[in-house]
């Protein structure tokens, strides 16, 4: 019988997996339920969608305003009327350079780093032109809800990523180090499987991490749908809505729907969890101590976060360090260090996620080969 299957079964029937999964779902449900005040606004937006109103134009402004009348949350920073009337103008006058300045201001960049962002944003002009033509630049979502879009673009992805990453580390440490933790190493490493068990356990743990992350995302989205009844709103083109989501969706850098966006976030989140799983496997194979390995991972992440924070903001090197390889670890590190800052959809994160993944995988293989020849 396959050892991997047995290890997967052992993890899935263990208490840790289900405690982590239930805990994660409770936290996500708490996030979702905190936004239940927006249910009337979501319902109105859904009805508008069903009536064929998918974009904000000068002609349908009054219809949209009427549909949301009396449902606006009390804590909205801007009224529905102001937002809806402003959208067509903003869509017409917003340029790629404005995106660059928002990005530069947000990250307090200067010098060569700022210039690099301006150059990177220049090609966006063509996309803006395209989106103005096909109206995705003025997609209608749920306006003026004091952060309802944050729930999907920020809080749920953050929560799922953190929970999956934490679960990945704990499940991996627990699984791979089990022979050391429960003092069965002398017994299991003298069986036919021998030290190959370490690799089989790593693979099994990675599979369960994948299951955990996918199940967590699936359950969370189902919970959100159950509470808000989003219906067609999942198909709204959002793209880089997060740039201006504080009042309304306007410009789409990538012409993708909310569901595709969430799928991409989930994919990144799963990659992140797997990456943390591989890191945990590497450190625990090296140290054979669960707690030590956990602290080393935390320390590395905190160190990367600190290095990225204190680096000068006017150099190209800083920009590359911060927004390319280091960004990935930094974001994870922030959580370990202070509990803030997470993923957003940026294609280079996926690329450098793969870069870090490949690097860690090579280190893990090297460590595994070393383990096969070391004394127990």
């Amino acid at each position: 019988m396959d050892c991997r299957r047995q290890e997967v079964k052992r993890i899935l029937t263990g208490r840790l997996f289900w405690i982590l999964f239930t805990g994660a779902l409770v936290v996500n449900f708490w996030f979702i339920i905190n936004y239940r005040g927006n249910v009337p606004m979501v319902a109105a937006a859904t009805v508008l969608g069903e009536n064929g109103v998918h974009h904000v134009t000068v002609e349908n402004q009054e219809e949209i305003i009427a549909a949301f009348a009396g449902r606006e949350p009390g804590n909205a920073q801007i009224s529905v009327r102001s937002a809806v009337e402003a959208v067509p103008h903003i869509a017409e006058y917003l340029e790629a350079a404005d995106f660059a300045e928002i990005f530069i201001e947000d990250l307090r960049l200067t010098g060569k780093a700022a210039d690099m962002v301006r150059n990177a944003c220049a090609p966006l002009e063509k996309l803006l032109l395209r989106d103005r033509k096909n109206d995705t630049a003025v997609s209608l979502f749920v306006p003026c809800t004091a952060g309802f879009f944050d729930l999907f673009s920020y809080f749920l992805p953050i929560a799922c990523t953190v929970e999956a990453s934490l679960a990945a580390v704990l499940l991996m440490l627990r699984c791979v180090n089990a022979p050391y933790d429960n003092r069965s190493k002398e017994l299991v490493y003298t069986t036919k499987t021998g030290r190959r068990l370490n690799r089989l356990q790593t693979e099994s743990a990675l599979f369960t991490i994948l299951l955990f992350a996918v199940a967590l995302w699936g359950s969370t989205i189902l919970l959100a749908e159950g509470v808000f009844r989003m219906g067609e709103l999942w198909q709204v083109k959002v793209g880089s809505m997060m740039m201006l989501h504080f009042f309304y969706p306007i410009i789409c850098r990538f012409s993708i729907s909310l569901s595709t966006y969430m799928l991409l976030q989930a994919a990144l989140s799963v990659c992140m969890a797997l990456l943390f799983g591989i890191a945990a496997a590497f450190f625990v194979t090296r140290t054979h101590r669960t707690v030590t390995a956990f602290f080393i991972i935390s320390f590395c992440c905190a160190l990367a976060a600190a290095a990225a924070e204190i680096a000068p903001r006017d150099s190209l090197l800083f920009f590359i360090l911060r927004f390319q390889p280091v960004e990935f670890v930094k974001k994870a590190g922030r959580w370990f260090a202070s509990g803030a800052g997470f993923l957003s959809v940026r294609y280079y994160e996926a690329v450098f996620g793969l870069f870090w993944g490949a690097l860690l995988l090579l280190l893990l293989i090297r460590q595994y080969k070393k383990f096969r020849l070391e004394d127990i």
């Binding site: 019988m1 429960n182 003298t190 020849l373 127990i376």
Partner: protein
């Protein structure tokens, strides 16, 4: 045949074993030495948990390191202190170990039943192991070591925690297995191996001190073991001068059994046992 050829094991600057040469064929081998003498290191080398600093260990002429899984497939090992998943039942635990040993599902199911029967745990097969006594855990350990019908069975302190009845049953099992297997039993409890082992290997000063049958080993002490009657007040003086192996009270006097190179009048020579040899060799340690 298992051969240990000029094996030395160092832990950084500490020498644990030095130039060990041994050969094991079918039969029971008792490995006797006091705690800390290197028994466990030797067993770990044989079970591939440690690798020799110098020398080779061969199985049927091939280095065990090269044989890798092919060698471990033929191995059954009961470590001195082994861990387990506390939530598992013995049946589930043996199933887990069976899978690690690469056994087929059908064969495994039959074997688990047989092993539980053999160690007297059939009635407890569905009980969680966290509720087991030390003796019961040790019996599960013996069952897992025998599960794959190993050609080489290595047992490190196998009778620890077993009651006298269980010990006797365990010895019976070992004797029945020794016909076509190499059984290596490491212990510091002499009676565990005295009557069942074909060969005794004794370690001293990190080297093999003797490797022979019980009879031949005991012969070396013939004429050196005596019994005599002493008064209670004299006992401490005797203990200072001689190595006293045992003592028993007979009325107001005490009969002592002791080791001495030369006999004297009034001392009754007795036939030496393995325990006498053990105490003669390691008494001061």
């Amino acid at each position: 045949m298992l051969q240990i050829q000029d094996v030395t094991k160092n832990y950084q600057n500490f020498v644990a074993l030095e130039h060990i040469n041994l050969e094991f064929e079918n039969g029971i081998y008792g490995l006797l030495a006091p705690n800390g003498a290197g028994k466990t290191t030797l067993l770990k080398l044989i079970t591939t948990l440690l690798f020799p600093t110098e020398g080779k260990i061969l199985y049927d002429g091939v280095e065990i390191r090269k044989l890798d899984a092919l060698y471990r497939e033929k191995l059954g090992f009961l470590p001195q202190d082994f861990g387990y998943y506390r939530e598992y039942t013995p049946e589930k635990y043996l199933h887990y170990i069976g899978v690690l040993k690469g056994m087929e599902r059908r064969e495994l199911q039959d074997k688990i039943g047989q092993m539980l029967e053999l160690v007297g745990l059939s009635e407890h097969k569905n009980k969680k192991m966290k509720k087991f006594s030390g003796g019961m855990i040790q019996r599960v350990g013996i069952a897992q070591a025998l599960l794959n019908d190993p050609q080489i069975l290595v047992l490190d302190e196998p009778t620890a925690g077993l009651d006298p009845g269980e010990r006797m049953r365990f010895r019976k099992i070992l004797t029945s297995l020794s016909k076509d297997k190499t059984v290596l039993v490491s212990t510091h409890i002499v009676s565990d191996v005295e009557f069942i082992a074909n060969h005794i290997v004794m370690l001293k000063d990190k080297k093999v001190h003797c490797n022979d049958t019980v009879e031949n080993i005991c012969k070396k002490l013939e004429g050196s073991i005596f019994e005599t009657v002493v008064e209670e007040e004299e006992l401490s003086g005797w203990e200072e001068r001689y190595q006293v192996v045992s003592r028993r009270r007979e009325g107001r006097d005490i009969v002592i059994r002791f080791i001495s190179r030369n006999g004297r009048q009034g001392w009754q020579p007795v036939k030496p046992g393995l325990e006498d040899v053990f105490l003669f060799l390691y008494g001061k340690e």
